[in-house]
Each structure stands twice: as structure tokens, then as C-alpha cells.
Amino acid sequence: MAYFLQQLINGLTLGAVYGLIAIGYTMVYGIIGMINFAHGEIYMIGAFISFLAFLVLGALGLASVPLALFAVLLIAMAFTAVYGWAVERLAYRPLRGSFRLAPLISAIGMSIFLQNYVQLLQGARVKSLPPVVTGGFRIMEQGGFVVQMSWLQLMIIVLTVALMAGFSVVISATPLGRAQRACEQDMRMAQLSGIDVDRVVALTFVMGAALAAVAGLMVMLYYGVIDFFIGFLAGVKAFTAAVLGGIGSLPGAILGGLLIGLIEAFWSGYFASGYKDVSVFGVLILVLIFRPTGLLGRPEVEKV
């Protein structure tokens, strides 16, 4: 029971991170119907920018941990958002209206490019940061096994919930959110009623990238190590989360993220951890085959 609870906590933490990345996939898919394959790379860039920001702030002599965390969060979100915007502008916008697979291939190219860009600039070695947020609290103890939750895990979960709440408000109650929902329903009609579609799409990428940067920061703090290759697996897993929850649905992305995190944590806790990535890919394939609309998604009608 205690072991189960511990895996539950680990899984929820992991799932919160996947959920944050999954939002980026699901929003972009909802609006322009493409899989932003480079989104995992955006998350990786977010992690690298947070890492560098920590070091620079440390070198400048910023000693207070909460202040530094907050500053790094803002810096990472801002710069990563610019990356998200630039990717959309360069690789996707010129392709709107091109043939079906063109944006996907362009996205794969962008993903390869960004991976190697970071590798060339920052080196191929694993970067490690000493723990910034330490400590935690005990939840229970059973037969010598202590279940704990670290402050960092709590912070990740709380921050995810807060961002989700803020985000839902943006989508449901602001003019931008209304424009996004309009574009999602019918882009041409939205354009006819005076919505600047290019701007809405660009802002969607910006928002997705900012959330991915938060996820990058969290993972960097949680594991303490990053390298230029982390975006690939995290991206595929987050995409799986988006599909599992129902692509295009925001609550679905978080639900899917939590489920994927739990599946991964329990699989490595109870089965062979060498196959833990197979479990995620397996879920992806099964969901797509048997329930392509996901748990909370709407069925999609293909028009001629």
C-alpha cells in the first residue's frame, strides 16, 4: 500500500509535467489540425534556458531561492515563447494550405534542426544542476517504508493546477480565447468575421511554448540533469497524453498527461523498467486504433 502510494505521487508529478507539454500539442492540433512535432524540442529548449538562467542568476549573486525560481520561470517562459513563435512563423505559416503531410515533414525537420542547434551550441554532454529545492514531508510510514512527497513534487503539482486554472479562464473568458475557439471551429468563417487568424495561431504557439518552458524547468529541477535529446521522448509521451485525453480538448490533455504519468510510474514500479517506454507507445497505439477520439474528444468528420 505504501509503495503504491509512493508510485502514485511520483506518477502524478510526472503526469503534471506531461500534461503541461500536452496542452501545447492539443491546442495547436485543435486550431490548425497539425501535429507540432517540434513541440518536444521547445520543451527541451525551455529546460536549457532555465538551466542557463539559474547559472547566470547564481553568478550575478541572487541568493534567495524563491526569488531565483520565480525569475527563472519568467525568463524561461519569455524566451521559449519567442522560440515557439519563430518556429511557427518560419516552418508552419508558409505551409498553410499546402498538401496534407507538408507541415508534418516541416515539423520533423524543425525538430531535427533544433536538437542539433542546441547540441552544437551547448555541447552533447549531460548537464547537471545541484538540487535547488530540497526537502519534503512524510505522508505515512508502513512496515519500514516511508512514503514522502518532496516540496518540489508539491510545487510541480500546485503550479500545474494553477496554470491550468489560469489557462481555462483565458480560453473561456477573454477575447483571445474566444478568437481561438472560433478558429478551432471554422478558420475561414473566423477570418470573415474579422479575426486575425495568423495572430491567433501565433499566440497559440506562444502560449504552448510558454507552458512547455514551465515543464522544462520542472523536469530540470526534478531530475537535475538535462541533455539535448530529452525533447524526443517527452514529446512523444506528451503527444500520447494529448491523444489519450482526446486531441483538441484541454481537460483531456491534463487527464491524459496524468494517466500517462501514472502508467509510466506504475510500470517501472511493478514491471520491467526497461520496457517502460514500450508501455507508453503501446497505450498510444491501442488508443489510436480503438478510440481515435480519445477519452474526452469529439469525433471528427472528414469533409471532402
Binding site: 529548449i45 525568463i75 505551409l95 515533414i105 525537420g109
Partner: protein, 429 residues
């Protein structure tokens, strides 16, 4: 005129500024990797400024070019069939024949070397993989991101068949192809009803699953250590070794030549050349058959195909199986050439490289695949600096090709077979 210049300058300045912002964190700062896990940081602000200035200049040049030569730098949104069809190039056939003649003569040319022939072998493996993937992506329009799985299945099935049943390369080659094809059918059957981009992600998942299984199923695949001692191909039973293992004749003894390791390199080169030429003839033939025409029709419009009574699942499955079989052949050859295989050779990076070859060359174009494979494989050989930038340029080129020439360098989207009477009738109206 003045306003246009001002607008161009403003636009370029904006692009340069964005480049500065982008470059500031990742280019401007870096950790000192040398000398242990120190967390010292150093700055490279000159690089940031150079990058910003470079983007400013490039953007300005692009705007000017776009104004002066509107047709050259036009963003490739046009889908008009008239432009896509184009006249059939007769020069292409002659060029192809010359290329084949050159490929056959390569080992005998005066400037040829062991290194060059070896490089040629690698290029040919990629050409073969590219042609295999071209059937799936270029003809049937199914984006397969896990093509390397079939390559791996071919390589491992040959290595395992050789180890367990003692079969040689030539006996095992059709078996590996068959195994890969059945694997393709097995994987393809449940997923081919999916939409294009979902299919791409699922195939990516399959590719990764195959690699992870190869890595973890140590009893059979040897895990990360791979399988060593894969047998070499023989020339009608004659081995290309200094001494025959079980008393038989070697190639050099039989023909009264003195043994040289170059003979094996040359032989391997001719084996893959023959395989590639057969593949080419096979796929060129195939696309003129009803099944090939169905692939092309499906690529253009699935709903129309359904309305015409073509069963999309079966047609897609056949493309998948044939692509997988060709990948399996290439895999078996890869195993026999290396003599050693491990899961490391079958990563997503490899799938992406093969896809890049098909995309850059022009989806559906056989000649495009050849040119792209030569370009991409020989490029890193020019030096270490090029090798480092190889994948970076791959990625950038994939984006640029999609933006400027979505059909690839040599676009081939004209149907392989067209109805002459109908075409004439259309022109007459």
C-alpha cells in the same frame, strides 16, 4: 519606391531583432564543459551580434530577391495540376543510364579506391532504403516514421537465421524480405485505417518499440551487445576470404587470382548495386500496374478512391508490405556487410535520415532519391566540420524544401500512367 525600401529595412530589422532575442540565451551563454562538472559559465555575445546581423542581411537579400525575381523565390503554395504534371523528361532516362554505367564502372576507374567503393556501398544502401520508403511515402502517400523497424527486422532476421539454421546470405535474403513484409502487414493491418498524421505517429511508436525490444530481449538479440559474426555473402558458393573455412575453394583460388581484401569490398558493392537495380526495375514496373495506379490515386484523394470502389486498407497494406520487404532486403545486406549489428544502428535518427532522402529528392521520384542519397551520405565525408553540421543542415533543408518546393528537388507527381484519349479530349474542349 522609398516606402518599399523603408518597409524592407523595417522588416529585416525586425527579423534581426527576433534573431538577437532567440540567440541571446542559447548562443550567448554556455557552460564550460571541459574540465569536469564545473558550472562555470562563459559568454559569447559576439556570436549573438553576428547571428543577428546575419539574419538581418539574409532577410534583406531575400526581400530584394523576391521583389526582383518574383517567380524564383515564390513560396510553393501552388497546387495547380498543370504545373505539377509538367512534360515528361526524356533527358532523365539518358542521365539514369549514364549513372548506372558510372556505378558499374566505379571500382575499375583509375581514381577509384577502397574508400570510395565503400562509400559507394553506403550510398547504395541508402538509395535502396530510399526507394523502399518511396513506395510507402512517395507513391501511396503514407508517412512512415518507423521505417527503420523493417530495416532492423531484415538485419536481425538474417543474422538469426544464419546463426540458428546455418543458412548463407543468398538463401536467407528472400526469407528476411518475407519476414519484414509479413511484419509490415502485421503492423500495418490495425493502423492503416488511421488518418495520415496519426499513422505517422503510430509508425514512429512501432519503430521505437522494435528498437526497445531489440535492446531488452537479450536472450535472442544479444541486447545492446548486438550480434557479431554475421556470415559474409559468397559468390556462387565461393567465399571471399583468404582461406575457405571448410576446405572448399575461395574466390581467388577458383579464378587463379591472388587474394586481396579489396575483392570483398568490390563484391559487396556489386551485390548492393544489383539489389538496388532490381529494386528500381521492380518499383518502376509496379507503379504501372493496377496496384501502383491505385497507390497514386489514393495519395491524391482517399475519399474519391473509396467512391470508385478501391479498398483503401488493402491498397495501403500492399504498399506497406512492399516497402517493408525492400527495407528488409537492405537490412539483410547491411548485416552481411557489417558482420555485426546492434540496436544502435536502428534509431529514429536513421528513419529521419531515410525520410529526409525521400523528401529532399522529391516524393515519388526515383532519380531524386539517388541524388539526395549521394548528397546526404557524401556530405559528412568532406570533413569533421561538415559532419557536425550534417543533421542541423538536414533539418533546415527539410523545412526549406517544404516551404519552397514542397514536392522535393525533382518533383514527380505526374501519374505514372495516363489515359491519352482523355487527355486529348480535355485539351480539345
Amino acid at each position: 519606391m522609398g516606402t518599399r525600401v523603408a518597409a524592407a529595412l523595417k522588416d529585416a530589422a525586425l527579423a534581426g531583432f527576433v534573431a538577437l532575442v532567440l540567440a541571446f540565451p542559447l548562443v550567448g551563454f554556455a557552460t564550460n564543459d571541459e574540465g569536469g562538472p564545473s558550472l562555470a559559465i562563459h559568454t559569447r555575445f559576439t556570436w549573438v551580434l553576428l547571428g543577428g546581423a546575419g539574419v538581418f542581411a539574409a532577410r534583406l537579400v531575400l526581400t530584394v530577391l523576391r521583389a526582383l525575381l518574383p517567380h524564383l523565390v515564390k513560396v510553393g503554395r501552388s497546387n495547380s495540376p498543370a504545373r505539377l504534371a509538367g512534360p515528361r523528361r526524356h533527358g532523365a532516362r539518358l542521365f539514369g543510364a549514364l549513372l548506372v554505367a558510372f556505378a558499374i564502372a566505379l571500382p575499375f576507374l583509375p581514381f577509384s579506391s577502397r574508400y570510395l567503393v565503400d562509400l559507394g556501398t553506403t550510398v547504395l544502401i541508402y538509395i535502396m532504403l530510399g526507394w523502399g520508403l518511396n513506395v510507402v511515402v512517395g507513391l501511396a502517400g503514407l508517412l512512415d516514421l518507423g521505417y527503420v523497424a523493417f530495416y532492423a527486422v531484415g538485419a536481425y532476421s538474417f543474422a538469426l537465421i544464419a546463426r540458428w539454421y546455418g543458412l548463407g546470405f543468398w538463401e536467407a535474403l528472400p526469407l528476411s524480405g518475407l519476414l519484414s513484409a509479413s511484419f509490415g502487414v502485421l503492423l500495418g493491418f490495425p493502423v492503416l485505417r488511421l488518418r495520415g498524421d496519426y499513422l505517422a505517429i503510430v509508425t514512429l511508436g512501432f519503430g521505437e518499440i522494435v528498437r526497445i525490444v531489440l535492446l531488452n530481449w537479450t536472450d535472442v538479440t544479444g541486447g545492446p551487445n548486438g550480434i557479431a559474426g554475421v556470415p559474409r555473402p559468397t559468390f556462387f558458393g565461393l567465399v571471399l576470404l583468404p582461406r575457405a573455412p571448410n576446405g572448399g575453394a575461395t574466390f581467388s583460388q577458383f579464378f587463379g587470382l591472388s587474394f586481396s581484401p579489396d575483392q570483398r569490398i568490390d563484391f559487396l558493392y556489386f551485390v548492393i548495386l544489383a539489389l538496388a537495380l532490381v529494386t528500381n526495375a521492380f518499383s518502376l514496373r509496379l507503379r504501372r500496374l493496377p496496384i501502383g495506379r491505385a497507390w497514386e490515386a489514393l495519395r491524391e484523394d482517399e475519399i474519391a478512391c473509396r467512391a470508385l470502389g478501391i479498398d483503401p486498407t488493402r491498397v495501403k497494406l500492399s504498399a506497406f508490405a512492399i516497402g517493408a520487404m525492400l527495407g528488409g532486403f537492405a537490412g539483410a545486406f547491411f548485416a552481411t556487410r557489417q558482420g555485426f549489428i546492434s540496436p544502435e544502428s536502428f534509431t529514429f535518427q536513421e528513419s529521419a535520415t531515410i525520410l529526409a532522402i525521400v523528401v529532399l529528392g522529391g516524393m515519388g521520384s526515383q532519380m531524386g532519391v539517388v541524388l539526395a542519397a549521394i548528397l546526404l551520405v557524401t556530405f559528412p565525408e568532406f570533413g569533421r566540420a561538415f559532419a557536425e553540421f550534417r543533421m542541423l543542415l538536414f533539418g533546415a533543408a527539410m523545412v526549406a524544401i517544404m516551404v519552397w518546393r514542397p514536392r522535393g528537388l525533382l518533383a514527380q507527381r505526374a501519374p505514372s500512367v495516363r489515359l491519352r484519349a482523355a487527355a486529348v479530349a480535355v485539351e480539345a474542349t
